[in-house]
């Protein structure tokens, strides 16, 4: 197992290097630079700025410089926010994004697994059809539609929940987390149903029945572990996607998270900020994929991970 983890971490190095290189190339290939704006800036100031941020050197030199400072853990200064480093800004935004992501994934798991279980235990009944139709809806509705819709219903008509903000009132986490989590709940429900139906048709479930176990015990003790495996493998990429995909939600609900930084950086051509957030999200994706593989291995005794030699 340890060997497998080490191997996967080593494997992540070339992946990250490719991400860095491609992002770097794309960012520089895009027209315009960090200091272009509607207001004309005098050539002297521009020259000084370029010198200060080391943008006059050839691109490959800039690339190597970036890599070497990255190796020292330095993501560089932001081009847009004077005197603030990218690392600092990411760390400021991280708690909100992480919190939002955690709430969302919990909601997704709770709704998704219960709906999927219900559907799997009573397949092809009205319960199954209702659960699966709602989950279809969740997959189809994009969050930029779902968000405002929930705001209109629960925030404006019913006035039950705050419509935006983060950490200002007790219940302002509910709508954004639910909006973000709902689409994932839908996927999880479908995966749970599929996984459970497959397991429940296996021979060893018949053995469990022949032992005299009740249906509830069969589902919870004999089927759940194997039935949830597809969900577990989905969770890693899902959580990473949840965090990096939260920028729509963060924009709609005015949450000061990394997602918003990411989008703004792209608009501002804030080179170091784009690089920094991209690298950060890539690392997240690698880490969460690894985590879900490890959990899957502990759930399924037949998987033994071994590094290929």
């Amino acid at each position: 197992m340890l060997k497998f983890i080490l191997f996967r971490i080593l494997q992540a190095i070339p992946v990250l290097l490719i991400v860095i290189t491609v992002t770097f190339a794309l960012v520089h290939a895009a027209p315009g630079g960090p200091f272009d704006s509607e207001k004309k800036v005098s050539p002297e100031i521009l020259k000084n700025l370029n010198e200060r941020y080391n943008l006059n050197a050839p691109v490959y030199e800039e690339y190597l410089d970036y890599l070497s400072s990255l190796l020292q853990g330095d993501l560089g200064p932001s081009f847009k926010y004077v005197n603030r480093s990218v690392t600092e800004m990411i760390l400021t935004g991280l708690p909100s994004t992480l919190e939002l992501g955690l709430y969302a994934i919990m909601i997704a798991l709770m709704i998704g697994i219960s709906a999927g279980l219900l559907a799997a235990v009573r397949p092809n009944t009205w319960i199954d059809y209702v659960c699966m139709s709602i989950s279809m809806l969740g997959i189809c509705l994009p969050s930029f539609l779902m968000g405002p819709l929930l705001v209109v219903v629960f925030g404006i008509w019913l006035e039950w929940l705050p419509v935006s903000g983060w950490g200002d009132s007790r219940w302002d986490w509910v709508l954004p987390s639910f909006t973000l989590g709902f689409a994932y709940a839908a996927y999880i429900a479908r995966l749970t149903r599929g996984g459970m139906l497959e397991i429940l048709s296996q021979d060893f479930i018949r053995t469990a029945r022949a032992k005299g176990l009740s249906e509830a015990r069969i589902v919870l003790k004999h089927a759940l572990k194997g039935g949830l495996l597809p969900v577990v493998t989905f969770l890693g990429p899902a959580f990473a996607g949840l965090l990096s995909g939260s920028f729509i939600i963060e924009t709609i609900f005015q949450i000061p998270g990394i997602g918003r930084l990411y989008v703004q950086a792209a608009f501002n051509r804030d080179y170091t900020m784009i690089m920094g957030t991209t690298i950060f999200f890539s690392v997240l994706i690698v880490v969460f994929n690894l985590l879900s593989d490890i959990i899957a291995a502990t759930l399924n005794p037949r998987i033994s991970y071994q590094a290929k030699q």
């Binding site: 060893f204 018949r206 032992k211 005299g212 033994s304």
Partner: protein
């Protein structure tokens, strides 16, 4: 006095395609400590009958049309779920066919085996532990403490079936229902498991319902035999009556399909003046395995085929027999170079096939054709029979549409299929018919060697006999040379001119069929031969008087 009585029971399935009658007016009684064997081919309703005793039939689609099932005065058919759960795993234990899939792969043995005790005797897992250990000891498993902490995939097939039996008997039930408990096991393991069931039955005075498709298996174990055909019990009686004085044509048919006849014309290979068609010299196929076998862990080098020397002469059928994991299939595939061989020579016409490049190999492969075990999986479900056969014919070169039609009609006639059905898809045929199609495809290219890998083991006995006779007829008619691979000794004896016995990657013995079966030289061959269940109750019963029931895998070193 009888503890279970079934009277006039009829069960049908109501599905979309209409009503299927699975069991029709079945009646029998089971006494305490008695063994009843239910014998029949697939679809005869024997498994449905067993499930109904446990109240395990899925309803719907299943429906009880009429009749009663009474267990110690309790009417099973009118009992509610709670009452039924109280019986299952407690008063009635059940063992299923495939120990590979019947144990939960996600739970350790200890969690599975203590479960019935905790449930029915209201014990804690800790209190149930010594009971479980004692039971694992009873079923002859070595080192029960260690086995408790393992997962099912870490045990061999025979060991898993022992665990299943321990689990079914741990609450000392009145009835054990064993549904084809040895069908998925090797013949030597099968005889161990049969002896074990017999021994435990005597010790605990349990009544056993033993379901099997194989009359040989039940000959020694049963007190009473029921023969089922299409849902009906067509004949019942004591083993001696069934085996020696059977009246019913279906029972006779079942008995006759056990291939015991010897071939009349034997091909005699005269190595002095006949040149072998194919020669294997020091053939080795090794591979790395990652799975953790019991008591071993980490990577193992598996010597699936190890230093095999073998000759096949033109016109002969060489039988290759061995148990699962002996390397016989790998050997067949190595000859075709379907697997990467490690070392050695495969000589055909003085050319070493082991050295051929991929493109040269393509030309040589048409000289060899394979027939596989599972005709359901080896035919492409999206190709009609015509497509499958004409694809094979096209390899011979560009043929005109009318030639192809002619050839295919001839082939279909040869294998006993109606040429009018060539536009049908594989799923429209039965298992036996599909295997005929697979045979037609194999002989279409007029190959110099046919490798038949367990061609009949997925089929019912009566169908088996038909396919074997077809193969014999084709071998004679077309003077085919065949490498016939099987785990079934009686099938091998029926088909082969010469026999090679394989054990743990090594050919331990070769010889012409008659003398090898009459006077086996190697101890492994002797063990193998003595393990074959015979359709002869008197000789079988004698076998059960020996009492060694310990698990001994692997049993003999070559």
């Amino acid at each position: 006095m009888s503890i279970l009585s079934i009277e006039n029971l009829s069960i049908s399935f109501h599905g979309r395609e209409g009503i299927t009658r699975a069991v029709l007016n079945a009646s029998f009684k089971l006494d305490k400590g008695e063994t009843i064997a239910i014998v029949g081919e697939s679809g005869s309703g024997k498994s449905v009958l067993c499930s109904s005793i446990m109240g395990l039939l899925p309803m719907p689609p299943a429906r009880i049309e009429n009749g009663t099932i009474e267990f110690q005065g309790q009417n099973i058919l009118t009992s509610d779920n709670r009452q039924l759960r109280g019986l299952r795993g407690n008063r009635i234990g059940m063992v299923f066919q495939d120990p590979m899939t019947s144990l939960n792969p996600y739970l350790k043995i200890k969690n599975q085996i203590t479960e019935p005790v905790c449930l029915h005797q209201r014990m804690t897992a800790k209190a149930a532990w010594p009971l479980a250990i004692a039971m694992l000891n009873e079923v002859g498993l070595p080192d029960p403490e260690q086995i408790m902490n393992l997962y099912p995939h870490q045990l061999s097939g025979g060991m898993r079936q022992r665990v299943m039996i321990a689990m079914a008997l741990i609450n000392k039930p009145d009835i054990l229902i064993a549904d084809e408990p040895t069908t998925a096991l090797d013949v030597t393991i099968q005889s161990q498991i049969l002896k074990l069931i017999k021994k435990l039955q005597r010790e605990y005075n349990i009544a056993v319902i033993f379901v099997s498709h194989d009359l040989g298996v039940v000959a020694g174990i049963a007190d009473h035999i029921l023969v089922m055909q299409q849902g009906q019990i067509v004949e019942q009686g004591t083993p001696d009556n069934i085996f020696y004085k059977s009246q019913h044509p279906y029972t006779r048919n079942l008995l006759d399909s056990i291939p015991v006849r010897a071939k009349t014309e034997k091909f005699i290979a005269n190595s002095a003046d006949t040149k072998p068609l194919l020669t294997l010299q020091h053939l080795r196929t090794w591979y790395q395995s990652n799975d953790n076998e019991l008591f071993r862990s980490g990577r193992n080098l598996v010597k699936a085929v190890d230093d095999v020397n073998l000759q096949i002469f033109p016109g002969e059928t060489l039988g290759l027999v061995g148990e699962s994991g002996s390397g016989k299939s790998t050997l067949g595939r190595s000859v075709m170079r379907l697997v990467q061989i490690t070392d050695g020579k495969i000589l055909l016409d003085d050319r070493n096939l082991a050295e051929l490049s991929a493109s040269e190999l393509k030309l040589y492969r048409r000289e060899f054709q394979m027939i596989f075990q599972d005709p359901y999986a080896s035919l492409n479900p999206r190709m009609t029979i015509f497509d499958a056969l004409s694809e094979a014919l096209q390899i011979r070169g560009a043929l005109s549409e009318s030639t192809i039609h002619e050839e295919i009609t001839l082939l279909m006639n040869d294998v006993g299929l109606d040429p009018a059905s060539i536009r049908k898809y594989p799923h429209e045929f039965s298992g036996g018919q599909r295997q005929r199609i697979a045979i037609a495809r194999a002989i279409a290219l007029k190959p110099r060697l046919i490798i038949a890998d367990e061609p009949v083991s997925a089929l019912d006995v009566t169908i088996q006999a038909q396919i074997l006779d077809l193969l014999l007829m084709l071998v004679k008619k077309n003077q085919l040379t065949m490498l016939f691979i099987s785990h079934d000794l009686s099938v091998i004896r029926y088909m082969s001119d010469r026999v090679a016995v394989m054990y743990q990657g090594i050919i331990v013995e070769t010889g012409d069929t008659e003398s090898l079966f009459a006077q086996p030289a190697h101890p492994y061959t002797k063990t193998l031969l003595s393990a074959i269940p015979l359709p002869d109750p008197i000789r079988e019963r004698a076998r059960y008087r020996q009492v060694n029931v310990k698990s001994s895998e692997p049993h003999i070193t070559p």
